[in-house]
Homo-oligomer: 343 residues x 2
């Protein structure tokens, strides 16, 4: 096409998005927030409409040699619902487009939809449309989700203030370590197809990888406690990457504490077994689909006893940087080493 | 996965959609219309929100050896806008997800987005989000579109009544015949790369294939003439297939007249040159993205002099069938031979 050639790997995913965003002009005054948050925000009169989309490609986002089709269907809905949760919204409708090669039978597609329908039920969303086509290459799944939020209740990435408490839900790193287990089992199977997979002791972390849960429960609890986060994002690319989004878009720095980071024992033990640093898995492992958010200190008491919300640090002025304080009280600058699907 | 194996080609695209739709349960009372029309219809209080999505896969929907990237970007938006037009709505926002292999440079992606942004400007929609990822195989483009419609002004496929006039916009068959020209030029080029493409005399039909226009102009004109169609669909799979959707969902039959079918002279001449029956191209060629709709006879006078709306037949009771009356006054039953992406 062009004489110049700039490789996409030079820019990375976020660089590409930034570059492409520059050419976009907003023409409709109902388009309140476009690219740059977990979902677009559209003014629908008495409420806001939220819109987000995620595409899953075989060989990039999933490997059918160890991902069962019902789990894949479930995950394709959950990751989209998670984007609506991260805006403090409620998901309502999804469209599901699927590109299929002829190696898929009707029964296989029905298995995929079994998971899609189970997730739709769990997250109370309706499958209202989509597109079904053949694919010359692998399986392609593209889901878009519509949600709603009350006006003034939507939460962006850019609203954090200095001294806000940084909260993370659930535990982190499990989905990444679970993926390592699945990859090892695949290699073992390829080397010796007689071997049965040994997944029993890794059940929790494998489940975290295969069937992530969008944290709508947390969104409902925050509402019932009358706690509105000042900023929020879902943890799809790893804690470090997401924290850098919140601090960057809020023009702040942050300190998080190693001893406060939530990690499950199975994640920790398995990381060590694989020769991985557990804290690196927490910081840079992706696909946990937990929520990272900030709250004003006035809400401290309401959440401090919550079993599944962890205070991991605080926001600070930008000049103090974005740092991890280790157990040895060393200050380590946090850099993004999360997923980069273009590398 | 399963012991039974039913091939997707046995069901076809519409059979698969019908089968998958059976497992879907609607839980939100704002989901007014799900699968089965050009877009989903969602109750947004004082208005309706419309949602539709289309996926384009390299090697299935486009061939980059003759489709320029800006045209492809334009088309990916236009085909989605066309779905909103077919509901009598106005498109407002789109999300664009792109799966890219590393053979694409930044410059190539910018060329794609040049077309996306041009279409966004032409159809007054905002690009508010998307997903950018690598692809191990070809280029994947998935677009979702949000639109709005006034309550009671939305038009479904199932609202036609007997004796309604059947209207088609523009001309038909051109995109299909244009595709034949592009395919022939590709073969000529592969046989002899020194040959320059000979496209001058096919300019109109090639343009119709490469850069379809969604007929929002017709939607605005119908509104200004106070004509609300009783049923409507966009012609993406061919006139015959779309007419069968309108008649089937409205529980009616129809007669259309061969001598009323709109065909451009270049389409006609080129079809003959390729040994194709021009009427078959009109009936079964896809991708024109014109509108097919029905109106009550009371609106006859308002539209009869419109240069770009053609009265091609009328609806009738289901027992009379769906027929073409030829110039020789033969009655031929219309069957769907449109695109079936799963065959």
């Amino acid at each position: 096409m062009a004489e110049d050639r700039t490789e996409l790997s030079e820019l990375g995913e976020f660089g590409l998005i930034e570059r492409l965003s520059q050419g976009i002009v907003v023409q409709n005054d109902t388009s309140k927030m476009g690219i740059g948050d977990d979902a677009a925000v559209i003014d629908s009169g008495d409420h806001l409409t939220l819109l987000s989309t995620d595409m899953l490609l075989e060989g990039v986002h999933f490997d059918l040699s160890y991902v069962p089709l019902p789990h894949l269907g479930y995950k394709s809905i959950a990751v989209n619902v998670s984007d609506i949760a991260a805006m403090n919204g409620t998901p309502k409708q999804v469209t599901v487009s699927v590109g299929l090669s002829n190696r898929f039978s009707l029964e296989a597609i029905e298995a995929l939809y079994q998971g899609i329908n189970a997730a739709a039920k769990d997250f109370k969303v309706d499958v209202v449309g989509g597109d079904t086509t053949s694919s010359n290459s692998g399986l392609v799944i593209s889901v878009s989700v519509l949600g709603t939020a009350e006006k003034e209740k939507e939460v962006y990435r850019n609203g954090a203030k200095a001294n806000d408490i940084i909260c993370a839900t659930g535990d982190l790193g499990a989905a990444f370590v679970g993926l390592q287990v699945l990859e090892r089992e695949k290699q073992t199977f390829l080397a010796n197809p007689e071997m049965q997979p040994q997944l029993d002791k890794y059940q929790y972390i494998v489940q975290r990888q295969l069937k992530p849960i969008a944290r709508m429960d947390i969104i409902h609890e925050l509402a019932s406690l009358d706690v509105q986060p000042t900023s929020m994002i879902d943890i799809s690319d790893g804690l470090a990457s997401e924290l850098l989004h919140l601090t960057g878009q809020s023009s702040l720095g942050a300190t998080i504490y190693e001893d406060k980071l939530p990690i499950d024992k199975q994640t920790y033990d398995t990381a060590v077994e694989f020769g991985l640093d557990p804290i690196t898995c927490v910081l840079n492992g992706g696909e946990d689909y937990e929520l990272l958010f900030t709250i004003d200190q006035e809400h401290h008491a309401k959440l401090e006893k919550h079993p599944d919300i962890h205070f991991i640090g605080h926001m600070q002025s930008a000049d103090k940087g974005v740092n991890l304080l280790t157990k040895q009280e060393n200050v380590v600058a946090i850099t993004a080493q999360g997923w980069n699907h273009l590398k």
